[in-house]
């Protein structure tokens, strides 16, 4: 689920795909006149820390919920033994 959300964000940035039409040599000439594209979404340490914290909190929360459901299912099963 988390990866799917990230995927939507990833695919949302469709415009400005600099590799779609240019070869290396064309781009080498093009960069003389054009500014370097602004770096977007690079793995700086702050972004990495936020990704890790959000993923951990969401997944640990999910695991706690699943564990509660597991306990209830186990109790129900043990009563039926």
């Amino acid at each position: 689920m988390l990866i799917a959300i990230l995927g939507v964000v990833m695919l949302a940035r469709l415009p400005g795909n600099v590799v779609s039409t240019q070869t290396d040599s064309v781009r080498a000439h093009a960069t003389i006149d054009q500014p370097t594209p602004k770096k977007v979404g690079g793995p700086d340490s702050c972004e990495r820390a936020v990704v890790f914290l959000v993923a951990t909190v969401v997944v640990v929360g999910l695991a706690i919920l699943i564990n509660q459901k597991r306990k209830r299912a186990d109790e129900k099963w043990e009563r039926g033994l």
């Binding site: 990230l6 795909n17 979404g41 990495r48 299912a73 099963w77």
Partner: protein, 359 residues
């Protein structure tokens, strides 16, 4: 009457009439997970499947931006890593889930081997599992070239030469992999095509077959287990345990992906000399080290051919283990095969460590 429940029940009836859901429910309700002191190892099969699922999702996302040409492959990976929103994370998750999938797959395979879970009637489960291992290693090999950086290029150059030693079909195998005399644009397109179409199609068929057999026969109980508790229903009791294991696996994956994102070397230059100390991925290190151990010539044949022949023979025997271990099939303990498994694990770990430590 609640219109929603009415709609749900009508949809359920509609589906029941058109799909074998009732039979599937009966099959699932019968599936149980044995409880004993070695039951922990059952989680590794599910974890392998979980990481395979992540491979598919992240692989599809990467394929939206990746361009399999020698001009653009390296640049498109750089673009994914530095320009696309969370592209670095998706690439990192793809790379790390591949490593974790291979790791959990090996743990699963050796736990199945040592618990003799391949014995009758699960021979086909073992065979499909071993074939899946070959496919997974194929995924690793074909995916390695795709960034088109220096290390990937020269590692693939060495890797694609390995089939050359095979008599009669060796040269044909090399040209099939490379698509020409050299590792170049044709090789990249072939590797990409095999990586995203051929291997996934084969893997989906084999994984479905493997899971279907698991549903039909359930998990095996090791021989000689005395302190067995009543088996746990798979749905939902064991599935909840599996999901918790997947959550733990996912947190470990995100931690690795975030802390150690894969690097991207310089763009491959076929005219440059190979970098010093180039090594394959960790799961190919035992083969790499074994080739390094091999003498130049061995009883009249080249050392490389002898090692490749022995590895091929070992792989064939590994596939046929359920038919070779006749004692386990009869319900008797087979210490010989346990010893083979232990020696093999020790050999793989030792050669991996030696290759990793060598310069």
């Amino acid at each position: 009457m609640n219109p929603h429940s009415s709609l749900t029940s009508r949809l359920s009836v509609w589906l029941d009439d058109r799909l074998p859901i009732a039979e599937l429910k009966v099959l699932l309700s019968k599936k149980v997970a044995p409880q004993h002191k070695h039951a922990f190892w059952y989680f590794f099969g599910g974890l392998t499947l979980f990481f395979f699922g992540i491979q598919i999702i992240t692989g599809i996302l990467l394929s939206m931006y990746y361009k399999p040409t020698t001009d653009q492959a390296h640049e498109s990976i750089r673009f994914i890593t530095t320009e696309v929103q969370y592209g670095w994370l998706i690439r990192s998750l793809h790379a790390w889930s591949a490593n974790l999938m291979i790791g959990t797959m090996f743990v699963h395979m050796f736990s199945v081997f040592l618990m003799k879970a391949y014995r009758k009637p699960r021979e086909l489960m073992w065979i499909s599992g071993v074939l899946l291992m070959f496919l997974v290693l194929g995924f690793g090999f074909t995916g390695y070239l795709l960034p088109w950086d220096t290390v990937a290029y020269f590692a693939t150059l060495i890797g694609t030469e390995i089939p050359k030693t095979v008599p009669l079909i060796g040269d044909w195998g090399v040209s099939l992999l490379k698509g020409g005399e050299e590792v170049g644009g044709e090789t990249l397109v072939r590797m990409y095509s095999i990586h995203i179409i051929v291997l996934p199609l084969m893997a989906v068929v084999l994984v479905s077959f493997h899971i279907l057999l698991n549903l039909a026969f359930g998990s095996s109980v090791p021989l000689g287990i005395q302190d067995r508790k009543p088996p746990l229903p798979f749905f939902p009791n064991f599935l909840y345990r599996d999901l918790i294991a997947w959550c733990i696996g996912f947190v470990a994956l995100v931690a690795l992906a975030v802390v150690f994102p894969p690097s991207l070397g310089d763009k491959a230059d076929p005219l440059a000399s190979a970098p010093v100390g180039i090594k394959p991925e960790w799961y190919f290190l035992p083969l790499y080290q074994t080739l390094k151990f091999a003498p130049t010539s061995f009883i009249g044949v080249s050392g490389e051919l002898a090692v490749n022949g022995l590895v091929g023979l070992a792989a064939a025997l590994w596939l046929l283990i359920p038919f070779l271990d006749t004692r386990s099939t009869k319900g008797q303990t087979s210490r010989l095969f346990t010893a083979i498994g232990v020696i093999l694990v020790l050999y793989l770990a030792t050669t991996m460590a030696i290759a990793y430590a060598s310069t």
